[in-house]
Amino acid sequence: MKKHLLAFAVAALATGGAFAQASDTIAKVKASGTITMGVRDSSGALAFTLGDGKYTGFHYDVCQHIIANLEKVVGKKLDIKYQLVTSQNRIPLVQNGTVDLECGSTTNNATRQKDVAFANTVYVEEVRIAVKANSGITSIAQLNGKNVATTTGTTSVQLLRKNERATGVDFKEVFGKDHADSFLLLESGRADAFVMDGQILAGNISTSKNPADFKIVGEVLSVEPIAIMLRKDDPAFKKLADDTIASMVKTGEMAKLYDKWFMQPIPPKNVKVGLPASDATKAAWANLNDKPAEDYAKK
């Protein structure tokens, strides 16, 4: 019993300590010698797992640059811990100090900016529609009466729902439990279209049995800035992240990284995503900012 009490007290102290330092990541990292990176297992080329507790991807690489600069600032080699996060737990984990730097595929929006901060955007996602190449569907209007797949816990279909109401298109929503399942819905004919982030669609198509059977069609449903997430009210750490990003863009490192992840064959299957940097992404590089998605919609 005493042991339990002790463990509880230690845990309470540890959490208390974490909260106390919560808003000064650099000091926290300096004191502990470790930094915890939030990673995703299947966020397309932005962040994914190689298995065996190893993670990689475009945002993962950007974060490694940020951590390299952080090591210079604190003056020692940091022990990097990886914490797998999900759509459900990523924001609470950043808020409570478990994760210092989330390098997945989080949309920067106004609601989230109330809880967390974002580094400047280096990837802008376009939500698109994937269909079977022989379906004859080329636009949203043709989705009338069709089954439209999307992944549970994403906001893509919400955009379409709003769009649908405006244009009088009536479709049925079907939900896959993850992107692979949603793609299977399309592949097996249970859905006529799959609405999702362009790079996830491109990635799933490129790794499918017959990539030529599918194509991405129709209007861009929305543009969303996807960004690296940080704790709120920590200007020093945000500046460090933003400065790293700015210098990467300036030296051309960012464009090189983009090419590496989106235009070249990538693991685990060594196939290309094949998604050139969109105009929105290029604009984000040219004019670095951390504006939420709402500001993009207004344009």
Binding site: P92, T152, G153, Q158, R161, E173
Partner: protein, 242 residues
Amino acid sequence: MESVMDWQVFLNDDGSGRTYLQWMLEAWRWTLAVAGCSWVVAMVVGALMGTLRTLPNSPWAVRFANAWVELFRNIPLLVQIFIWYFVVPKIFPAMQQVPGFALVVMSLGFFTSARIAEQVRAGIQALPKGQRYAGMAMGFSTAQTYRYVILPMAFRIIFPPLTSESMNLLKNSSVAFAVSISELTMFAMQAQEETSRGIEIYLGVTVLYAASAFAVNRVMAFVEKRMQIPGFIVAGGTGGGH
């Protein structure tokens, strides 16, 4: 997490002209429909298979029912649902016409039927041999012995675990979200992402699940009470003293 709860979120429009509250109630209906239909399948098939397993002179029926139970209880429920939804229609194209709802009801019903069959068998085997002999002495056929002597007693013995199984079935229906049935769990995962109000959404869904499962519990308890015959089970000797 410091932000206070905002229950207004349920009144927000989800983009298609319905509120999140309406959507949640719709999802609740799907949960109840999946669970209700699966329950009927599970009870009918479970009772049949459980009975077949105890038949005295039909070794092939016993083997068939044993195989049924082992097949459906040794594969994870989520895997079974995927097999019915994606694999079976690939192998038998005729199955593509069957709506997803029916496939989910079938997989959840068969999965639970294996568990119920096991309870029915246990209930029947808990009865003393004398009960069967009594039926034979009356000149009953095997079917009549089961109908008038064995099953009425066996079902009263296994009623408490059947109650648990019925509640489990309701909660297990949450896996239906994996094959795009728009039930409560799917609603929770989807709506919390759309509204960024996960706490309120999950609390709402929790209340509905708890209320539904508790209602099942009360109905089963009521039936159990109404079915009780004082001294009936205890007189069986080995049935245990409920």
